[in-house]
């Protein structure tokens, strides 16, 4: 019966997520009806009776499939990636205040991306690759240093990660101060997060699906890990292996998101919290629910970011915070359990 409740909740969240995708495909400089969006997505070209109708149809098709869909999918996938990575980091560090960036993954990605921009690499695949390399370097560095003495404690991991993140922050600040003015705006936008320049939305979506499947495979063991490594080990969990899997999984998910849309803040910290306030801390429900909620939030935020003061665009990270903060505070205020911890 608990399982049935979980499935109902997830089905509702999935419907919301699909509606947010539909909305983001419909809204823009050319407003489309939901029917037109669906026709553009699934209909065949050249169905119309007259030439004008065909022209409008193909225009809508062009807008939906080539302009809006990649961007909406990128926002959707990365929102899910960040929320899932945040939820996993919170379990790994057994700290409800952990977010996907706490261990320096986004810092590494930012160093990689900004260095590439300074070298003159434009937006696109090269930039994404540089960000990914930076993220992987940070992940390897934190892993190697945290494991230095053979132990693998969460305090040592957290300290190492926070210090590497701080170091990356300093390097980013250094590069920003050295950068010529004409590059500065692009760099700042990358740092704040921008779904318009996503390099590989489909691969992000694939990584999200695989990552979620792996996380769900271990979800009950993750429940035990939240209650402490000793209890988990007593109940038959291989704690060291599970924590390594968790670290690499959360890091890869974060790297995939940051590579595509930059360091969008807030989603990874607050969406898992929000879901925990509403649905409790059972990872079997929390992980997929946070993924869907994160995807929905970032899709809506990106839609607003490109349409509020169109044709100008806002950084999507600003909007995730502007939507998320009041929602979160409202839920916290009426939470019967008296806190998210």
């Amino acid at each position: 019966m608990k399982r049935r409740r979980a499935l109902i909740v997830l089905a509702m969240l999935a419907v919301l997520a699909l509606l947010s995708l539909l909305l983001s495909l419909a809204v823009g400089s050319v407003a489309l009806s939901p029917g037109a969006v669906l026709a553009a997505l699934f209909g065949e070209a050249g169905h119309g009776l007259n030439a004008g109708q065909v022209g409008a149809d193909s225009m809508a098709r062009e807008v939906v499939l080539n302009l809006r869909l990649p961007r909406a999918l990128a926002a959707f996938a990365c929102g899910g990636l960040l929320a899932l990575a945040g939820a996993l980091m919170q379990v790994l560090l057994r700290n409800p205040l952990a977010d996907p960036y706490v261990l320096g993954i986004s810092g590494g990605a930012a160093v990689g991306a900004l260095a590439a921009m300074l070298w003159g690499v434009g937006m696109g695949l090269g930039l994404g690759a540089a960000a990914f390399v930076g993220a992987m370097a940070a992940m390897g560095l934190v892993f190697g240093l945290a494991r230095g003495d053979g132990s693998w404690t969460q305090t040592r991991l957290l300290l190492t990660g926070v210090i590497i993140a701080a170091g990356c922050g300093a390097v980013v600040a250094l590069m920003l101060s050295l950068a010529p003015d004409r590059q500065l705006r692009g760099m700042l936008f990358w740092l704040m997060g921008d779904a318009g320049e996503a390099v590989a939305p489909l691969s992000a979506l694939m990584i999200l699906l695989v990552g979620l499947a792996v996380a769900m495979y271990f979800s009950r063991e993750l429940n035990l890990l939240t209650r402490g490594p000793l209890l988990a080990a007593t109940l038959g969990v291989n704690v060291t292996r599970l924590r390594l899997i968790l670290y690499f999984l959360a890091s890869l998910l974060t790297a995939a998101a940051v590579t595509n849309i930059g360091s969008v803040g807030f989603v990874g910290l607050v969406v898992p919290h929000l879901v925990r306030l509403l649905l409790g801390n059972d990872q079997r429900l929390l992980l997929p629910a946070a993924t869907l909620a994160g995807a929905t939030l970032l899709t809506l935020a990106d839609t607003l970011a490109r349409s509020i003061i169109a044709p100008q665009q806002l950084p999507v990270g600003v909007l995730t915070a502007l939507i998320g903060v009041p929602v979160f505070l409202f839920l916290l205020a009426r939470s019967p359990r008296g806190g998210p911890t």
Binding site: M1, K2, R3, R94, N95, P96, Y217, R220, E221, N223, L224, T226, R227, G228, L230, L231, A233, T234, L235, G236, V237, N238, R276, G280, N281, D282, R284, R337, G339, P340, T341
Partner: protein, 282 residues
């Protein structure tokens, strides 16, 4: 004769360069209860975790129902032995019922959710520790003693054959101390399980155990039936503080000598133990 549930052969355990025990050979048959006693910091918890297979021994071997931990694997081991740890870390909130259901983990296959039968078992375990009406409460709102009893309920639904309890009476008031020990003793008797517990109360240890293991702190140990090992002389030596035996043939009680200035001097004089208790007289 059934096989022993827990056996060690020439077991040696050390932590941080300090020897906890060596050459420990103990055998616990179904229904048998062992109490471990020793001063703070001699390694009682370390030994218990070693017996639970959570850390490797320095030498020797441990057999759980005839098998070594490395052939059993963590999951099978979790169905055979359960540990009540000294501390419960609750980083995240959860209900009492959810916390108890965690103990069913080793009995569920990977994609299973807890069934109605599991929930029924959890409610029964909560009733057994006297917390039936708290099932929906948040664990963050419990007192220390209530949290300890929730941890015990979690252990009960795990249904192990060997119960390893690390200070099961911590935070409990007097009536619950007795109730918990009686509950565990009944379980062990009914299910032909075995029990190892770290205790600080020598009288409760004498009453609720068949064997006793005294850890001296220098790697030496004393192991035997509780009746022979738990006497005033051994325990006075163990704690470095004089105890007096009282009672008749049926009931023995061991009590610390009341601290008088004269006794304090005596304790100070033969203070072989650096941590001998020194209380100022009222």
């Amino acid at each position: 004769m059934t096989a022993a549930l827990l056996e060690t052969h020439d077991l040696a355990v050390s932590i941080g360069g300090k020897q906890v025990v060596h050459n420990l050979c103990l055998t616990l048959a179904p229904g048998e209860r062992l109490a471990i006693l020793g001063r703070n910091g001699v390694g009682k918890t370390t030994l218990l975790h070693t017996l639970a297979g959570l850390r490797a021994p320095e030498a020797g071997e441990i057999r759980l129902a005839g098998d070594r931990y490395d052939t059993l694997g963590p999951r099978c081991a979790a169905r055979l032995r359960g540990l009540l740890a000294q501390h419960q870390g609750d980083a995240f909130d959860a209900s009492v019922l959810e916390t108890v259901l965690v103990g069913r983990h080793p009995h569920l296959s990977r994609w299973d959710w807890e069934s109605a039968a599991d929930e029924h078992m959890a409610h029964a375990a909560l009733a057994a520790v006297g917390l039936a009406e708290l099932a929906q409460r948040s664990i963050h709102t419990l007192s220390g003693g209530e949290r300890q009893r929730v941890a015990l309920a979690t252990l009960l639904v795990q249904q192990p054959r060997v119960y390893l309890l690390d200070e099961p009476l911590a935070h409990l008031d007097l009536n619950h101390q007795i109730a918990v020990l009686q509950l565990i003793a009944r379980r062990v008797h009914e299910e032909h399980a075995a029990l190892v517990m770290v205790l600080h109360d020598v009288n409760l240890a004498a009453h609720f155990s068949d064997q006793a293991l005294l850890l001296q702190g220098d790697g030496k140990h004393e192991l035997g039936t509780s009746r022979t090992v738990l006497d005033a002389a051994s325990l006075s030596r163990l704690y470095g503080y004089p105890l007096r035996e009282m009672g008749d043939e049926q009931n023995r009680w061991l009590a610390p000598e009341i601290a008088t200035p004269a006794l304090q001097n005596r304790v100070a004089d033969n203070a072989s133990g650096s941590t001998a208790l020194r209380e100022t007289p009222m």
